[in-house]
Amino acid sequence: MMKKKYFINANIIDPHNNISEIGGLIIGEDGKIEGVGKKVNKNNIPSREKVIDLKENYIFPGIVDMRVFVGEPGYEYKENFRTLSNAALSGGVTSVVTMPNTDPIIDNVSIVDFLKRRGRDKSKINIFPTASLTKGTEGTNMTEFGLLQSKGIIAFTDGIRTIQNTRVMSRIMNSAKDLGSLIMQHAEDQELAENGMINDGIISTKLGLQGIPEIAELIIIERDLTLLEEYNCRYHISQISSGKAVEIIKDRKDKVRFSCGVSINNLSLNENDIGDFRTFLKLSPPLRTEDDRLSLVQGLNDGTIDVIVSDHKPEDEEQKRLTFAQAATGATGIETLLSLSLELYHNGSVKLEKIIAALTSNPAKILKINKGNLSVGNDADFCIVDINKPWIVKQENLVSKSKNTSIENKRLQGKVTNTYVKGQELYNI
């Protein structure tokens, strides 16, 4: 049993409980939260207890990252549960939703047992695995949502692939409605996006790279939201990339219930950052124009977008030291997710509470998990953040097994100094 812990004089932000104030946090011997907020201060803590004064540094609930790729099973050389959880902890992330695009693909009950066991034994953070929507992510036969759910699968997605067939999608939604399953769609028409590498526009024309038109995203979103009116299930769009998608979603949210995410890459970068064929910025969905980025920021501000994800996709160097066409898609980002998100706060684009909600309480609510909050009685999963601390992203300092960051050499402001899971300090700077 661990010792009781007292933190005082912290800037506490807990969107779930509407807390944004200077106060304290008490962690019980069982690793649960016993007290939180302004009522916790030096005066009501027994004087013989050791108290940690955080000097107005921030406490946020542990981040819930809804889109993370882990290499286990099949691609352990890119990332395993141990390296993933170390990377996550260094970024204040205490819960992750893992994608099913492993080898083999997570599409049946027997592999889930293995996954849960590995996640439990090797990982220090909370792992919430998804399974694929269709067998082998082939888009034709749906997986056993009910049985998989009962084994602990939190949601269903084909991860990097989209359900292309409308009939299959309608049946998936209809089943999900019966079983209360959460469907997460990677919204990209695969025919329109075929062989595409970056945003379809002047940059793709200049670089001579096949473009991915924004319409590829819009057409799937429009289709799915139309289906959703008929087959009302729990539906989440994994990530969007264009200003037009923000418009459509904003318009449809009045009519039907669903949620939507965005990758921190699309909130922070645009297609110009690809520069001279930088393969680490080959992403899906692709980085689009600065206008698109600004619309996404606005969408986050007005609540059109619910969640920010890292879209953490580890790829070893061999898969990136190739021509742009041959290089793998994706970038790591779990350990920089919070710091890069804080850029939006520091430059005055988004309120801090809103950013933290998109990283904690909002994903938890969509997933229906009791995480991402500092409620009394809950596991003490949280991070302490020096919100002004400047640092520079360097590949060699990254914890993740793969070093394919999209923001090498970027100057960031704000760094996680300590991360706690179930009341235990598992990371400090």
Binding site: G201, I202, A325
Partner: protein, 312 residues
């Protein structure tokens, strides 16, 4: 003749694309090339300007004219030229471009000429080797020596480029030749018309300062130069066009469409030609109008100039 002019130097270490060149660079290359035109017609074509230098041709895509043109250019300048046969090389065994680059770099070449099916392959190579890299075509991005030889051909015939009207017609989407020519002709003061079906236009091409036409007669009207592009069927995975027959009807260069261009207009084509698809076979062979053979001839001179300049 003792005018003291300061020797102008090329601004780039590599020739990756027209995009990177200044107008001084272009003029330097064109001037240098002009000197080789006569040499290439003479009996003794051999110089020793690049004696002792090693040139490696690295062609990942099949090519007849560009590869032989570069090979001949190097040999006429006295360089030791090695052409890598990719089909037999380690690349077929799974070696990556970077590893190949490292291997070749260890042999201390002075210049590497690369043709690759992926856009940006030459950029990647140039970051990994110590010698100069000449782009002989990368994906659909650039083919700088083709644009330069086209400019030299136009100069040879029209004595100027400034103020000329040029129509570039056909498969713009997949064409590196079109992109390089748009940059270069714009730089040299020509007015560029792009003529293509909408399915073969890359996104936002109008932002490159060109006029777009889907009607060929309107597009070639009053043009001094009609530049035809090859329809790149091998790069088309899905339905861009209904048929070659229909394409020829609307976008193939035929006498009736050519009537709209200036009466002294010339026809260009980077080759290889699809006769009866993008160009009428009689027009292709009409030596009064078609300068296709001249393009090939001047191509050697341009490549000699580039090899000489970038080897220095």
């Amino acid at each position: 003749m003792a005018t003291k002019t300061k020797a102008i130097k090329i601004s780039q270490k590599h020739l990756l694309g027209i995009q990177d060149l200044s107008i001084n660079d272009v003029n330097l290359i064109l001037k240098e090339a002009e000197k080789f035109i006569e040499l290439n017609k003479s009996k003794n074509k051999k110089l020793d300007l690049l004696k002792g230098k090693t040139q490696i041709n690295l062609f990942f895509e099949p090519s007849t004219r560009t590869q032989s043109s570069f090979e001949l250019a190097g040999k006429r300048l006295g360089a030791d030229v090695m052409s890598m046969n990719i089909t037999n090389s380690a690349i077929k065994k799974g070696e990556t471009l970077i590893d190949t680059a490292m291997t070749l770099n260890a042999m201390h070449p002075d210049i590497i000429v690369i043709r690759h099916q992926d856009s940006g392959a030459c950029n990647l190579l140039s970051q990994k080797v110590n010698c100069a890299v000449l782009n002989a075509g990368d994906g659909r991005r650039e083919h700088p020596t083709q644009a330069l030889l086209d400019a030299l051909t136009i100069l040879n015939r029209k004595k100027k480029i400034q103020g000329l009207k040029v129509a570039i017609c056909g498969d713009i989407l997949h064409s590196r030749v079109a992109r390089s020519n748009i940059y270069l002709l714009n730089m040299l003061g020509a007015e560029v018309n792009i003529v293509a079906p909408s399915n073969l236009l890359p996104k936002d091409i109008e932002k490159f300062g060109v006029n777009i036409f889907s009607n060929m007669k309107k597009g070639v009207k009053d043009c001094d130069i009609v530049m035809m592009l090859r329809l790149q069927n091998e790069r088309m995975s899905s339905s861009f066009l209904s048929s070659n027959r229909e394409y020829y009807e609307y976008y193939g260069l035929t006498q009736d469409k050519l009537e709209y261009a200036k009466s002294d207009s010339i026809i260009m084509h980077p080759g290889p030609m699809n006769r009866g698809i993008e160009i009428d076979t009689k027009l292709a062979d009409d030596t009064n109008m078609s300068v296709v053979k001249e393009q090939v001839e001047l191509g050697v001179a341009i490549r000699m100039a580039c090899l000489k300049i970038f080897c220095e």
